[in-house]
Amino acid sequence: MPAMNMIQALNSAMDILLTQNPDVVMFGEDSGYFGGVFNATDKLQAKHGAHRVFDTPINEAAIAAMAIGMAAKGLKPVAEIQFSDYIFPAFDQIVSEMSRIRYRSAGQFTSGCVLRSPWGGGIRGGQTHSMSPEAFFTHIPGVKVAIPSNPYDAKGMLIAAAEGNDPVIFFEPKRIYNGPFDGVPDAPLKSWAKHPKGEVPEGHYRVELGKAEVTREGSACTVVTYGTLVHVAEHAAEKSGIDAEIIDLKSLSPYDIDTIAASVNKTGRAIVAHEAPRTSGFGAELAAQIQEDCFYALEAPVLRLTGWDTPYPHAHEWAYFPIQSRFIRAMEAVTKAV
């Protein structure tokens, strides 16, 4: 199987979607001619035509909203919001229209589409290029939220998202587009070529939404996370020797509580981790559900490891970002607690 980085895997997914379904269209700011700021849509316009892969002006609200209209009348939009920090002009349309068309038309119309968006920190992008806004979207009934953590999943999940018939907010951890990150700041970039999930089939396959994956089995504690932090957590476990079980959530809405509960019932200890601020972050939802489902198995309070309740900083990014050393401290704390 060929080695692909995440960008190549996403590009391959979109190429397949465009080839197999004539109703698929892609658009976004500089996504057509230019191929996207991260090259995710590179060459797709040349191959599939400017009527199917095109540039929009800087209009996030209309990008999201037009996707709704297009989807309601039979197209399958896979649109790009250039950075997830820029998704907020589109928020109203996502909350008030995209998520509710199916419900308020009693199923007559749907808005099955995908909004892809580079997401998360660790690239020294400061406050308007580093956010993790997933919790705003997991709070909306009627949209799915998915966040892959490697090339194999990125391709399979994007195909599954586009072939489903619901709107999906598809966040792509940009820090790991070109290689996994072990959570040691300023360490040299690694390549996906040496990672098992960097092997990506050329053809069509799906990684179904709604399913989590145990990426490392362990008995000392459970770490539930997603995106870039999956790799940070794995490396923290190796480095510290703490035998943590790592769960890559992959889908946040709906999320796979069965896989989480099975693990926490086994280990009795849980950490939930994300880059986004702590208060009302997705970790709060996970912690609440874990205590409901695993209360009698818990041997320690569920611990949240998150960004701070501040805007994403320009200076001191690594004090904000949950790096490897913070993971190790959290694992020590949760395994020692009685």
């Binding site: 700011e29 500089d30 001619y33 230019f34 700021v37 540039d55 002006p57 800087i58 209009n59 609200a61 209309a62 920090d85 820029y86 907020f88 002009p89 690239i123 020294r124 992008g125 400061g126 406050q127 308007t128 290029h129 701070w308 309740d309 501040t310 805007p311 900083p313 320009h314 200076a315 001191h316 004090a319 904000y320």
Partner: protein
Amino acid sequence: MLSWYKDMLLIRRFEEKAGQLYGMGLIAGFCHLYIGQEAVVVGVQGALEEGDQVVTGYRDHGHMLATGMDPNGVMAELTGREGGYSRGKGGSMHMFSRDKNFFGGHGIVGAQVPIGTGLALSNKYKENGKISVTYFGDGAANQGQVYESFNMAKIWDLPVVYVIENNQYAMGTSVKRSSSETHLYKRGVSFNIPGEEVDGMDVVAVNEAAAKAAEHARSGNGPYILEMKTYRYRGHSMSDPAKYRTREEVDDIRSHSDPIEGAKKKILEAGYADEDALKKMDKEIKEIVSDSADFARESPEPNPDELYTDVLIEG
């Protein structure tokens, strides 16, 4: 004229230095240089009064220097240090100065337009005789909130000058590909806002147009739109491969319409200064800029506790 030349040169040299520091890894993240567009902010600033407000997007270093903000503080914000205008919290795109009435530096495209309109409303409410100058790009000109702002600014005749810096590209998208009406000065027509196209590479033309627009806004006639035709020489940001335009296009503008060269020619022709005096000026400016780079390197990292301050009022 000489002082405009000096101000433009300061911006040019500052940006060149910022580009170097970026290349050396001292400035991280996103950094958008203003090289090529200097005549716009310098010409406009020359038409303003003390107390008028300025607000812009993320390509903001030139605007800050033009308002008189300290190059040291700007450069140190780029490097994320204690001595920066936002003490390392904002970075290149997010700086402010209460003292100089500079209201940011905004990373979200178009966000500053209603904010600048709000500044104008505040001026009107307080009857302070001040105006707000609200800058945005050709790409930003397509954001919906721009038109919500135009409408309100005219309903209430707010003292705001909208300066559209049309450098012909929004990242890789040219105006032709993004705009059904490429003459952006006409964007106010259906709101009854007068607009004018200006040669943004000519500091004198900019200044004259800005003086007229400022007077219009200040005397209670409401908003005015200036479309500055300009050009950015460098990539959109430091990480732009620039494959959307040709080398020749850039070279052509540089060699025929450079705002600084143009001003220099006028100065020499009119005899305001000679070559030697201009060289000396350049040398002084290079020193100011190099001092700012030293300051930005030596200023300490902010205290990590800074992370938690200024989120809300501290109890």
